[in-house]
Symmetry: D2
Subunit: 127 residues, 4 copies
């Protein structure tokens, strides 16, 4: 499955270069994953399991800058590579149609003691 989410670059997200700061790209990618979990109704499942999804590895390529009010779309494709849940994410500028960034985010489910756990069957719709 591929999940899609849209964002508009905000005034307070610009840095002293006048474009969206590079750490903000990570915010957009993170929010797209939250929305994927919401849309698949998996947020409650995870909460009730007592597990936490933690990010262990992030690789982002920055291809183009994002300017004030640019409309962007983040496409997210989750993939299971035990014990990891990996998210391949692409960000496109809808105004220009051009790719602005790509990311690979590796996550793992941990318990209260921060020990990695298997991905529950209830999350199998994800991949």
């Amino acid at each position: 499955m591929i999940h899609r989410a849209k964002y508009t670059a905000r005034g307070y997200e610009l840095d002293s270069y006048g474009h969206v700061n590079n750490a903000v790209y990570l915010n957009y990618f993170e929010q797209a994953r939250w929305e994927l979990f919401r849309d698949l109704k998996m947020l409650d499942l995870i909460y009730r399991s007592g597990l936490f999804l933690v990010v262990v590895d992030v690789h982002i390529r920055y291809q183009r800058e994002i300017k004030l009010f640019d409309e962007i779309e983040v496409a997210t494709r989750p993939k299971r590579v035990d014990p990891y849940l990996i998210f391949e994410q692409k960000m496109v500028n809808l105004s220009t149609g051009l790719s602005v960034s790509r990311a690979t985010i590796k996550t793992v489910l941990v318990d209260q003691q921060r020990m990695p756990q298997d991905i529950p069957e209830t999350l199998k719709e994800l991949y």
Copy 2:
């Protein structure tokens, strides 16, 4: 009592005008209150009471801009005005000696149901 804390303006805190964004001043003021509670060893007291300190009213005056690497000091004076805990805060640019901002932050302790509670005797050192 007056509590003092120091910060350095960071590159990613600058906005497209090349100075520290106005929302970041609120971050500095908030962090100064966290450090005040830590230094008075009251963080644990609050955690254990099951209460939360929530901000109900913020008034900030912006007097001067803050630039990259400016050293600033936040002076915080807590004051009890039942049922509120009010923090008078001043921010000074240590490089120039000039005042850059003043804030009055009104907070209240609430329980799990978000109902305001009296300020416990154990926090009396605050004011």
Copy 3:
């Protein structure tokens, strides 16, 4: 005139209390003002005038917490009180219909030397 803008509370905007951090409210209010200027086609006017709109005073009342994925609407009403441009802003939670915050933001146009300037006639549509 009253300008309206909508936002959705994001996962990375939550603080350790599990609700939207109080500094983030200031981000929403700021972005609503950026969108007002965009929608009135005044961003370019201001850029070309060589002036900057700076915030000199912020007063926010926090009435209710905002939680993950809450939909909020910010209503902004600009008003001229020479030499200030004042924005009265209200934030409503569209899920509950309840008011969550109110703000009064006082701004002034300054030139390159940070000296306050009169509000140009070209911005008169604002008020």
Copy 4:
């Protein structure tokens, strides 16, 4: 050369899990690079060259969580791999002595038209 910078985890940097949000690690790494340039007196050199240092690729490994008031140190080692300026960065929790994160940040100097430029001789102290 290796440059070292210290930070303290702040209250507003915590997310709903109660630890420092993963995007904030990127802020710490970025600020360490700003301080490196300041300490080498290269910020002015870059400004005057009319060039911008832009991030093109970020790889971060998250090894441990960071909690409120943890003291961390970022060690930064710049390296020239034409046309890139690459920063190898490590983050250590000074309270525990343990490594919390590692990052490789690939940057390039671009001109006003966003075209990559050679690294000027004046920046040669960096590597």
